[in-house]
């Protein structure tokens, strides 16, 4: 396509967009709904993933040592733990650190703080916190540790929350699977509605297409303005969707963050996820606009 032709089809597409402003409005409205549905589903999946990660992140094995155990003993133990397969990291927490953390955690609870101050010595155990490479590995690590009789080990804490973690794992993976199916279904329905809307707007203009053919326009010359219109639909729909979505997100996401104990960032310009969302919308908006127009107009081009 030559430069003159390119400019002309862009001009024609732009002009048609405005001169069929109500058809354009209808197409944009439906596309906005499509993009909103898909965006909301995406945000929900961000939330589930993040909260699942944060729950998984809270799981660890804590090995408590007897009061007054030398650090070197614990460090030795730590070296051996690190040799085990599937251990991602270990962290040594001395009795003093445990004390500070305890104070920090209960800083609002004067009763507890006072009570612990009454004691002559630090009642907290020094400990080693172990993280596994994957949530399913904790059990075997914990079993290995329990099986060996190490000196000075007071207690290995894992059993307590194992059941809870397993249930939660099943629940979230079930939710994620169901959610994905539902999301795909929703997205498909919206895409169909959207394609049909564009088809109807072009059906409305089939006579125009026929006239263009009769005065000697090539199929490409007829098709391109429609594609340009499709691109404009997509861009405008993305703008509207973001304009509606951003205020909603900025009130909804912080609440969910508090509730789920996560920090999803979707409202500031340096949020990667926000830009991912915009990118998905742009991609969908443009692809939907262009493909719908192309397919819908084909029928009248007798190709």
């Amino acid at each position: 396509m030559g430069k003159i032709t390119l400019l002309r089809v862009i001009k024609n597409g732009w002009q048609n967009f405005w001169r069929h402003v109500w058809l354009s409005a209808a197409a944009i409205a439906v596309m906005t709904v499509t993009l909103s549905v898909i965006s909301i589903l995406l945000v929900l999946s961000f939330l589930t993933n993040l909260s699942l990660d944060s729950i998984k992140d809270k799981v660890d094995i804590s090995v408590d040592f007897e009061l007054g155990t030398e650090e070197s003993v614990i460090r030795n133990y730590e070296e051996r733990v690190k040799q085990l397969p599937d251990v991602a990291s270990t962290r040594y927490i001395s009795a003093d650190e445990a004390y500070l953390e305890f104070q920090k955690r209960h800083k609002d609870d004067i009763g507890i703080i006072e009570a612990i101050k009454e004691l002559d010595e630090n009642p907290l155990f020094p400990s080693l916190v172990i993280k596994a490479t994957d949530i399913s590995k904790y059990e075997s690590i914990s079993n290995t540790l329990k099986a060996e009789a190490a000196p000075a080990v007071h207690e290995i804490n894992f059993e307590d929350n194992r059941r809870a973690i397993e249930t939660l794992g099943k629940l979230t993976s079930g939710l994620a699977r169901g959610g994905t199916v539902l999301a795909i279904l929703f997205a498909l329905v919206s895409v169909l509605v959207m394609y049909n809307t564009i088809r109807l707007t072009i059906y409305n203009r089939r006579e125009e297409i026929e006239i263009m053919r009769l005065v000697g326009a090539t199929n490409a010359y007829i098709r391109w303005p429609f594609i340009i219109e499709g691109i404009i639909y997509g861009l405008v729909a993305v703008l509207i969707t973001m304009a509606v979505l951003l205020p909603l997100l900025s009130s909804f996401v912080p609440k969910m963050n508090d509730y789920l104990g996560i920090s999803l960032n979707l409202t500031s310009v340096n949020s990667g996820l926000l830009w991912q969302l915009v990118a998905v919308q742009l991609f969908l908006g443009l692809v939907l606009g262009v493909l719908s127009s192309t397919f819908a107009v084909r029928k009248y081009l007798h190709e």
Partner: protein, 258 residues
């Protein structure tokens, strides 16, 4: 086939570019502008809309094709524009065989001929200027040329005052004038008019025919399909009468005889 068409487009356009265009109708080339060679058009199951139609049109002629509704006028025009293909025989525009045209060739055929329809077929969302300009745009004319030529063509049909009006704001006669301007925009070698006065009152109809005669006078071959008796009789040019898909008569200074 396509290569030939493009080549012709090219040479014609360069001719246009040099300003005054030699009327193709006066070319000393010994071939016909339009030729029907034993053409039959059969619509399923067995309606013979055209039955072995045979006639030729020389460059620069003005020919009226008359006949009652259903006599085959429309079928004939649809063959000339490539909207239909002949079932038997062939139609030639200059040396171009309609039978051999592919879908890709059609746009190029339609830039060689201009067509005026009874139902006018202007683009409703484009202004008068844009409607005429569109026919030049599709042919790849430069913007400066379009800006320059369109007002002149609209002046020829007497619509120079309505450049920015939309079709819905025009009367039937005015719309048909714009349609004629559009048909002329790309300097066709052949102008086909399919019942152009069908929806017009007699004064407007007469004016449209005068316009077609003027265009013919400047050198463009004109084919007028109509069943308007008085108009045909006032033209005093060649008349081909169709009856039941056959050529019933073909007279140089004909009258409407049905």
């Amino acid at each position: 086939m396509r290569a030939i068409l493009i080549e012709r487009e090219g040479t014609e356009r360069s001719g246009v570019g040099k300003g005054k265009r030699r009327p193709i109708g006066r070319k000393v080339v010994p071939h016909n502008m339009l030729k029907f060679h034993k053409v039959s058009k059969i619509y399923p199951p067995d309606i013979r809309a055209l039955n072995e139609v045979d006639f030729e049109v020389a460059p620069g002629e003005f020919i009226s094709i008359v006949g009652q509704s259903g006599a085959g006028k429309s079928s004939m025009l649809r063959l000339m524009t490539g909207q239909d293909k002949p079932d038997e025989g062939d139609v030639f525009i200059e040396k171009l065989s309609i039978k051999d045209l592919t879908n890709e060739d059609l746009p190029f055929l339609r830039r060689k001929i201009g067509v005026v329809y009874q139902d006018i077929k202007l683009l409703p969302k484009k202004t008068v200027f844009e409607n005429v300009a569109f026919a030049m745009e599709v042919g790849g004319y430069e913007a400066s040329k379009i800006e320059h030529e369109v007002p002149k063509i609209l002046e020829l049909v007497g619509m120079e005052g309505r450049l920015d009006s939309f079709p819905a704001e025009l009367s039937g006669g005015e719309k048909q004038r714009v349609a004629i301007a559009r048909a002329l925009a790309h300097k066709p070698i052949l102008l086909l008019a399919d019942e152009p006065t069908g929806n017009l009152d007699s004064i407007n109809a007469w004016e449209i025919v005068q316009l077609l005669l003027k265009i013919n006078h400047y050198g463009t071959t004109v084919v007028l399909a109509t069943h308007a008796r008085e108009l045909v009789n006032s033209i005093k040019k060649r008349v081909v009468t169709l009856e039941h898909g056959r050529v019933a008569s073909d007279e140089q200074h004909g009258r409407y005889r049905l």
